[in-house]
């Protein structure tokens, strides 16, 4: 639907209004899941969930709770729409991406429901910009049916240690293999690249390991191309929880502290790679 045919709305008619004194509290989180152009927004009284999916095998969700916003009002039970994430981020950072100390971009995000564009009022240093971004039909997001009752293995690591391991991953490997076990090697990341295999082992009693709850030895492989985008979320986060369930589905949950010290979460779900390859010792 071209923009000009989308309806104009007055303030009192907005279905969703969300305001932030610092737009970076939203833009930074969204950048961490920006591996595809489009994202689905779901707003409820709890806050906003932004979902990005890839190949029906990977899903990333960013949760920004209502408490993060300086103003948050929603007139319906749930509001859902699809936007071009790249365009949204360009608008949120319209005054420049770099952080100048003491200067923030204020944001007021408004949406009037189906058929209306997403309106952004952005202000910095007295300059106001209004952006209207076309919205699209929301697509049904995947339900990975990942529930805590099916979780077999869980570890929580401090992001610092995992960050280096992820940045050094052999990208010539098609898969990232994750081994979790109550016995050695406890928690292992493996790659199988052109020059050979590489393993990174974290002992269960490592200072970096905050929680270690592994009940069964599980080894699963995930496509490297799917997991590589999660490195962005890892670099923002202070802690990460890694869980696998009885089907080998992977859940990565990142705890992110924003500029004001508030906590947000980013979650990645990934299906295991179906192809069975030979495991190197």
């Amino acid at each position: 639907m071209p923009l000009s045919t989308q309806l104009e709305a007055g303030e009192e008619q907005y279905v969703l209004i969300a305001s932030l004194d610092n737009a970076r509290n939203l833009s930074n989180i969204l950048k961490a899941i920006q591996f595809k152009d489009h994202a689905t927004f779901l707003a409820t009284s709890n806050g906003i969930k932004v979902t990005v999916e890839d190949s029906k095998c990977l899903q990333a969700n960013a949760f920004i709770q209502a408490e993060i916003f300086q103003e948050f009002s929603i007139q319906e039970d749930s509001v859902m729409f699809r936007v071009n994430l790249a365009v949204l981020l360009d608008c949120l950072t319209i005054f420049g991406g770099s952080a100048v100390p003491g200067v923030t971009t204020a944001l007021k995000m408004c949406y009037n429901g189906y058929g209306y564009p997403l309106t952004l009022f952005l202000e910095e240093g007295g300059v106001v910009t209004v952006c209207k971004i076309k919205t699209q039909e929301p697509e049904e997001t995947l339900d990975f049916d990942f529930c805590s009752t099916n979780v077999i293995n869980k570890v929580i690591l401090q992001s610092d240690s995992l960050r280096e391991a992820f940045s050094e991953l052999d990208m010539t490997s098609e898969v990232l293999q994750i081994t979790m076990s109550p016995d050695k090697p406890y928690f292992r990341l493996s790659t199988f690249g052109n020059s050979g295999s590489a393993h990174c082992d974290y002992p269960k009693d490592s200072d970096m390991m905050e929680v270690f709850q592994c009940t069964q030895t599980q080894t699963n492989r995930y496509k490297m191309s799917l997991l590589k985008p999660s490195t962005k979320a890892l670099s923002l986060s202070c802690k990460v929880s890694i869980r696998t369930d009885n089907r080998g589905f992977l859940s990565l949950q990142y705890m992110v502290r924003n500029d004001d010290g508030q906590i947000c979460f980013i979650e990645y779900f990934c299906c295991p790679d179906e192809e069975v390859g030979e495991q190197e010792q």
Partner: protein, 369 residues
């Protein structure tokens, strides 16, 4: 076979690999670790490695993956172990890092022939000595893509010129010529006018290594391989190392058969060293506290191990890595330039025989020309 590299040397090992990596992006690097290097401790008797005859070639990119984050190596890595896996088909690099984290790399390799240049240090008629800065300032004027350079040594000057293949038209090429007068050198002894052509890239590899240390450049050439032993500043005797350790660089020679001669071993006296093989260990400035480089020896022979002279008491500490100095680089000329000088494949003595793949590549190159 197993080698353990101590913390302080891990970063240096990674750094020392970097110039080689640049140099050998299309090829393979050749490393030989011997138990005689005291900065690399081995499990098993010193004779094991030599007896087992283990030599291998690995893709540079593979080795680079082990030492990816150079800047954080010394902060995170506590120990590096290098071992052959039980199957004997993988070289295992294991980095023991902080917080109990272990990173293991199982890298594939190829068996390789040994390359051991054999030569006599005193056979050179032309000996030139200068600060490494002089060489750096000279090569920087040549385009980075330039393969080979002609060097003409006369009694008054040394001239560097980019080398043109026969089929290249000089009028269509950018020609660069640099002359260095005799008085720019600290020592300039030319017995006979000589012209040689060799690979500029190899010279560039050596330069960062020399630049990072205080050693001077010495060029010795006839028309046989150019020999570049470093000249240590003898006023700082305390920090001289007697180790003969050095990396080996796989090099191409022009032709012929190498004589099967053992490497000459150096005496262990301080000022008279006879480095035998190409070395590429970088060496930190002895005036500053930095890690000594890790290097590997490629010749047998008796040599005394001297600890790093931080203090008398530390000399005796086992496993304390000694300082290593940049030893020497062999640059093999692809052709002698001046008439009257030794020409023709049959006259030129081959010091380091090429490996099979090098010979095949050369043959292909010759067939194309």
């Amino acid at each position: 076979m197993r080698c353990v590299v101590a913390t302080s040397n891990v970063k240096v090992l990674g750094k020392a690999l970097s110039p080689l990596c640049e140099f050998l992006t299309l090829g393979l690097g050749c490393f030989l670790f011997t138990p005689s290097s005291s900065s690399i401790m081995t499990r098993g008797s010193p004779g094991d490695l030599e007896d087992s005859g283990f030599r291998c070639k690995m893709g540079m990119k593979s080795v680079q993956t082990v030492f990816k984050s150079l800047s954080s190596l010394d902060k995170t890595v506590e120990k590096c172990e290098i071992d052959l896996n039980p199957g004997g088909n993988r070289l295992v690099f294991q980095l023991h890092c902080k917080y109990g984290i272990t990173k293991t790399h199982n890298l594939s390799f190829q068996e390789s022939e040994s390359l051991q240049p054999v030569f006599q240090k005193d056979g050179y008629g032309n000996v030139l000595r200068a600060q490494p800065r002089l060489l750096a300032d000279t090569v920087v004027h040549f385009p980075p893509s330039l393969e080979e350079v002609n060097v003409t040594v006369s009694r008054e000057r040394v001239q560097f010129r980019n080398h043109l293949e026969d089929e290249q038209d000089a009028s269509r090429m950018m020609l660069t010529e640099m002359s260095l007068d005799a008085d720019e050198f600290e020592s300039f002894r030319v017995r006979e006018e000589t012209g040689i052509t060799f690979c500029l890239k190899e010279l560039r590899v050596r330069d960062p290594a020399a630049q990072s240390s205080d050693i001077k450049l010495q060029l010795q050439c006839n028309s046989s391989p150019v020999y570049c032993p470093p000249q240590a500043d003898t006023s700082h005797d305390d920090f001289l190392s007697d180790d003969m350790d050095s990396y080996m660089i796989a090099m191409e020679t022009s032709c012929g058969r190498a004589e099967a001669q053992p490497c000459s071993t150096g005496s262990d006296q301080r000022r008279e060293r006879e480095p035998v093989t190409a070395a590429c260990s970088t060496r930190s400035d002895h005036r500053r506290e930095r890690e000594p480089p890790v290097s590997a020896a490629c010749s047998t022979g008796s040599r005394q191990q001297r600890g790093w002279r931080r203090g008398e008491e530390e000399e005796e500490l086992p496993g304390t890595p000694p300082q290593k100095r940049f030893r020497s680089l062999f640059l093999v000329p692809s052709s002698p330039l001046l008439p009257g000088s030794q020409s023709g494949a049959s006259n030129q003595e081959v010091l380091a025989e090429a490996s099979d793949s090098d010979r095949r590549n050369r043959k292909r190159k010759q067939q194309r020309n």
